[in-house]
């Protein structure tokens, strides 16, 4: 009777039904991986430390010891721990922002870096730096740049900002994002040429994602907590939203406020990540995609999992970046892009129509 289905029956690799127990197991596994990578980040580096020394350094009492223990604690607490946590927070924010933009735009290729959001944040930050603004003005400008950039892409790529069109999966959106990213790139080059020499070094920080700037993780971690609290309770509604606006509304979802919430949380997450570590590309694309391939596209599972997975990815990439050709350190954005570009191209070329 089903003529069309007799030949091949492609199934996704994740036909097991998602439920709360399975989701919790996935989160737990990712959290364990995150802890392992965190320990490795604290232990490895120019001075390699055994795990016992790392743990001892984290204990509040360790400062009582003198001599080398003090130095160890210093390295772990003031250098490696903030850097690892900043990496985790930025990765988590970027992956969360990517997953949310993919829902908002109903396009699996949407991502803050690809859509020019990071470029917008960097451009605004550079302008503030040239103007000689204080650090918080620079950070606020980066936030504004991220919001403006997402708004530009949304506004240009669709006729009605808040109406999901069935053609959302078309390449039009990606083209718009890529062109806007190119525009930001040109502005950045212009600003670098105009900038006074003494400001150049700080400005270069924005152009390749780098956790080497003594980035403090606390703002990013706080934003991560706020973003997760704001969006995870809405995850069942996001699943419905993926079916299209009319279907979601018919199922009792208030579409416009939900879209607004997704937009705000995604922009906030992307902006906080860029403000902390500059432009780190492709995390928001690769991490949600890998998790989707492995476990399916249920947003209730995916959003927290993307945060954990993104944290692991950037923390791990930064570990590679600062140990691969030690003592020289690479910017972490180089590592994520080297991995991300081929994955993006593979996804683009293997999309099912």
């Amino acid at each position: 009777m089903n003529r069309g289905s007799s030949s091949t029956t492609p199934t996704t690799s994740t036909m097991r039904v998602m439920n709360a127990k399975r989701a919790a197991a996935i989160w737990l596994a990712l959290a364990v991986v995150a802890l392992v990578v965190l320990m490795a980040s604290l232990a490895l580096g120019s001075v390699a430390l055994p795990p016992g020394r790392v743990l001892a350094a984290l204990m509040p009492s360790s400062s009582a010891h003198g001599g080398s223990a003090d130095l160890t604690a210093e390295i772990v607490r003031t250098l490696r721990l903030p850097r690892a946590l900043a990496g985790f927070a930025c990765g988590a924010l970027l992956a969360l922002a990517g997953a949310l933009l993919q829902v908002l735009l109903r396009n699996p290729l949407a991502e803050p870096y690809v859509l020019g959001v990071s470029g917008g944040a960097a451009t605004f930050a550079l302008v503030a730096m040239i103007a000689g603004g204080a650090w918080w003005i620079v950070d606020a400008s980066a936030f504004a740049g991220a919001f403006v950039s997402i708004l530009l892409v949304l506004g240009l790529a669709r006729r009605e900002l808040w109406r999901g069109e069935p053609q959302d999966t078309s390449p039009r959106l990606l083209l718009t994002g890529a062109v806007i990213a190119a525009g930001w790139g040109a502005l950045i080059t212009l600003l670098l040429n105009l900038a006074p020499d003494n400001r150049l070094r700080g400005m270069l920080f924005w152009l390749t994602g780098d956790l080497n700037g003594g980035a403090m993780p606390w703002t990013a971690l706080a934003v991560l907590a706020v973003a997760l609290l704001a969006i995870v309770p809405a995850a069942p509604r996001l699943n419905v939203l993926l079916r299209g606006d009319a279907a979601a509304q018919a199922l009792g979802v208030a579409v416009v406020p939900l879209r607004l919430r997704v937009y705000l949380v995604a922009s906030l997450a992307a902006a906080a990540a860029v403000t902390t570590a500059g432009t780190i590309g492709f995390v928001g694309l690769v991490v949600p995609h890998m998790l989707r391939l492995a476990f399916g596209n249920d947003q209730r599972m995916l959003l927290p999992a993307a945060a954990l997975g993104g944290g692991v990815a950037v923390m791990g990439a930064d570990l590679i970046a600062r140990t691969a050709i030690a003592p020289a350190q690479l910017p972490v954005g180089v590592i994520t892009s080297i991995i991300g570009v081929p994955v993006f191209l593979w996804m683009l070329l293997h999309r099912r129509r």
Partner: protein, 265 residues
């Protein structure tokens, strides 16, 4: 509290409903009540306002004038979730962007029934399997939606609204992309479904002969503000359909079979 499941009031009623699109009037002061047990076909030429009418009856669009009441309560006064448990709307098909199993997609329509942290229970899974079973899609449960043909996707969408378990079904072109065999299967399934107490189905459709055979009632829009509502054989007549579609149609008979066909020029 609303009298959502008070059977004595269980009805959808349009009161002096007026729908406009730009400067055109699609429907002018239309008043009618749809009762339980009825299977309605909404027919009319392209652009006559079938989709607009169904979306308005579902509460997704505001009418230009007049109002719609469900169980004696204005649609605007319904809370979103109780409304989604009372009526289901199947919009015209939208493409899926992400891989997902057919079962997961169908189960999304259990959203109005979810409680707590929003995870499905065994009953929701059973409802999804039952809906797939009803439309002969049981073997499709683990298929990836992105691998489905247009007709298969359409049947999955129909299974999804059925598993929403709402007594009022509003279906926008549920038969599009289906071959004749599956059109008849789906209409038979809908006819059986509408037989349960309290249930009403409205579907838009272009096949007048299938409508005459399976629907109990018909609503014919002429695209110019006029509408004819009543038992299907009183509405889908050669005279009224010829007027609405702007092309002469004649009724031919062969024994007990009848068909509306376009008259030769």
């Amino acid at each position: 509290m609303m009298k959502a499941h008070d059977a004595s009031h269980a009805a959808l009623s349009a009161q002096r409903l007026t729908l406009r699109a730009g400067t055109r009037t699609l429907l002018e002061a239309f008043t009618h009540t749809f009762y339980e047990g009825e299977l309605w076909c909404v027919a009319g030429p392209n652009g006559a306002g079938k989709t607009t009418l169904l979306a308005t009856l579902a509460g997704l669009l505001q009418p230009s004038a007049g109002q719609v009441e469900l169980d004696g309560v204005r649609l605007a006064d319904w809370q979103p979730l109780p409304l989604a448990q009372r009526r289901a709307l199947m919009p015209q098909s939208a493409a899926d962007a992400f891989s997902a199993s057919v079962l997961d997609i169908v189960m999304l329509n259990r959203f109005p029934h979810l409680t707590g942290w929003g995870w499905e229970r065994e009953a929701d899974r059973d409802a999804a399997h039952a809906a797939l079973e009803l439309l002969g899609l049981a073997a499709f449960a683990t298929r990836d939606v992105l691998s489905l043909s247009g007709g298969e996707r359409q049947r999955v969408a129909l299974a999804a609204v059925l598993c929403q378990d709402a007594p009022l079904l509003l279906l926008d072109e549920p038969l599009s992309h289906l071959d004749l065999h599956h059109q008849i299967d789906c209409l038979e399934a809908l006819g059986g479904w509408a037989h349960e107490p309290g249930r009403t189905v409205l579907f838009s459709c272009h096949d007048l002969n299938l409508a005459r055979r399976f629907a109990t009632h018909a609503l014919l829009l002429d695209g110019d503000g006029g509408a004819y509502a009543g038992p299907v054989h009183d509405v889908l007549t050669p005279a009224l359909t010829s007027r609405a579609f702007g092309y002469p149609l004649i009724l031919i008979r062969d024994g007990e079979h009848e068909a509306l066909i376009p008259a030769p020029r």
